[in-house]
């Protein structure tokens, strides 16, 4: 990894706020961001990401060939990664736990994505608005695969009332609160940008100007949450700890190869890789808690929040940038 990239990443306010959250927990400071304030931040971020993304998609022209290819590849990755993850996890875990953890890694983390975007911006590398479309499209398929795995690979003796009917699988995949808010905000951003540019301007201070500050505030909270997961991570055992670090790296390598074959330029390739490498702690856990209560929630939430998320924020982002720099030819316009 390029050391200067690491340093540039670490000295961003987002990452620094994340650190002080972590340190607060380690030093047993009584700093606290009480519920439902983290929920406020996460709802705001989803709404704003979606809205901004919708504008971006509209501006980059949706019917472009490159766009459609990238979005399809994103969906494919979110179908493929859970399958690969499942195979690996089955070495140690039952079907329920394996499916739930695997689905988390197929899905994405919006906060990792926006931290990566800020990093890109600080490197003066551009990226396209439609990448938010990829973000939005990678949540549902991963949940879908996870639930289908439970349905078809799981024991046949689940109680009748717990049968995973296709309708409830689809419901959890597409109507999950955070998936729904992201996608509908994206659509609204798209429609507004198309039909009502002056309204885009009126939204700007809320969705764009204060975005970075709210992101920092939320990352402070995320630092505390991540640090508080560490004790239960230890209980989870070294297999899972290894998985939480190696799986994102593995996914990032696949991601970089796919990005290369799609001829994505540096910025988009980087974001694509970050999406592949990041793991979900909003949509997937919500769906799994509802429909697969047999899975231990501490497994899938502690790995994604306690290890993969901090890893990606701090080390992953510069690492993936180095990967991209190595494997993606610099685009010449």
């Amino acid at each position: 990894m390029d050391l200067s990239l690491l340093l540039q990443n670490i000295f961003a306010p987002t990452v620094l706020f994340f650190f002080i959250g972590v340190i607060a927990v380690f030093c047993k400071s009584d700093l606290e961001i009480p519920a439902p304030l983290p929920k406020l931040f996460s709802l705001y971020l989803l709404l704003a990401i979606g809205f901004k993304g919708g504008i971006g998609i509209q501006e980059s022209g949706i019917l472009n060939n490159q766009v459609l290819l990238t979005l399809s590849a994103a969906i494919l990755m979110s179908l493929l990664i859970p399958l690969l993850g499942f195979i690996i996890l089955r070495l140690k875990f039952n079907v329920f736990n394996s499916a739930a953890i695997a689905a988390s890694y197929g899905s994405i983390s919006a906060v990792t994505f926006i931290t990566a975007e800020s990093f890109l911006a600080s490197q003066n590398i551009g990226s396209d608005g439609f990448m938010v479309g990829a973000l939005a499209l990678m949540e549902s398929p991963a949940i879908l695969v996870g639930l289908l795995l439970v349905r078809f690979a799981g024991p046949k003796n689940r109680p009748e009332s717990r049968k995973l009917h296709l309708s409830s699988i689809l419901h959890e995949s597409f109507l999950n609160g955070s998936v729904y808010l992201l996608i509908t905000s994206l659509i609204i951003g798209f429609l507004t940008s198309l039909s009502n540019p002056s309204a885009v301007e009126k939204m700007y201070p809320f969705t764009h100007s204060i975005f970075y500050g709210v992101e920092c505030f939320f990352l402070l909270d995320m630092g505390m949450v991540a640090a508080q997961r560490l004790p239960s991570l230890k209980k989870a055992g070294s297999f899972l700890i290894g998985f939480a670090i190696l799986m994102p790296i593995f996914n990032s390598i696949i991601g970089v190869l796919v990005a290369r074959s799609l001829s994505l330029d540096t910025g988009n390739a980087f974001l694509f890789v970050v999406l592949c490498a990041s793991a979900s702690y909003l949509a997937v856990p919500a769906a799994m808690r509802m429909t697969v209560p047999e899975a231990r929630s501490s497994y899938y939430i502690s790995t994604t929040l306690g290890l993969t998320f901090p890893f990606n924020i701090v080390l992953g982002i510069p690492l993936y940038m180095s990967l991209v720099n190595k494997f993606i030819p610099i685009s010449t316009f």
Partner: protein
């Protein structure tokens, strides 16, 4: 009269409330944002914003018969998803 205390993940709230309504309870009270620890799970406030959510604490004052009516269904939800249910005596003021 009895007092029934139910504590479980807020994600099962709707299922439990449906059960209560089907048993014709005279009323119920819900307190959300409860956290805690059970035999296997720890539910903490800092995780409330994630997909796991927090617990709900439901209180029902009702006759023993109504409790008998819904016992099986509540037990089945709680045994599957986790949570506790306790009955105690209560006298109207």
């Amino acid at each position: 009269m009895k007092r029934l205390d139910l504590i479980f993940s807020e994600r099962e709230l709707q299922a439990i409330l449906n059960t209560l309504e089907n048993a014709d309870v005279p009323g119920y009270t819900v307190m959300k944002h409860a956290t805690g620890r059970g035999p296997e799970r720890v539910v903490t406030e800092d995780m409330e914003f994630t997909g796991l959510g927090a617990n709900a604490h439901v209180i029902v004052f009702c006759e023993q018969e109504i409790i008998d009516k819904m016992r099986d269904e509540i037990r089945s939800v709680l045994s599957y998803y986790g949570g506790v249910a306790y009955i105690s005596e209560a006298t109207p003021l």
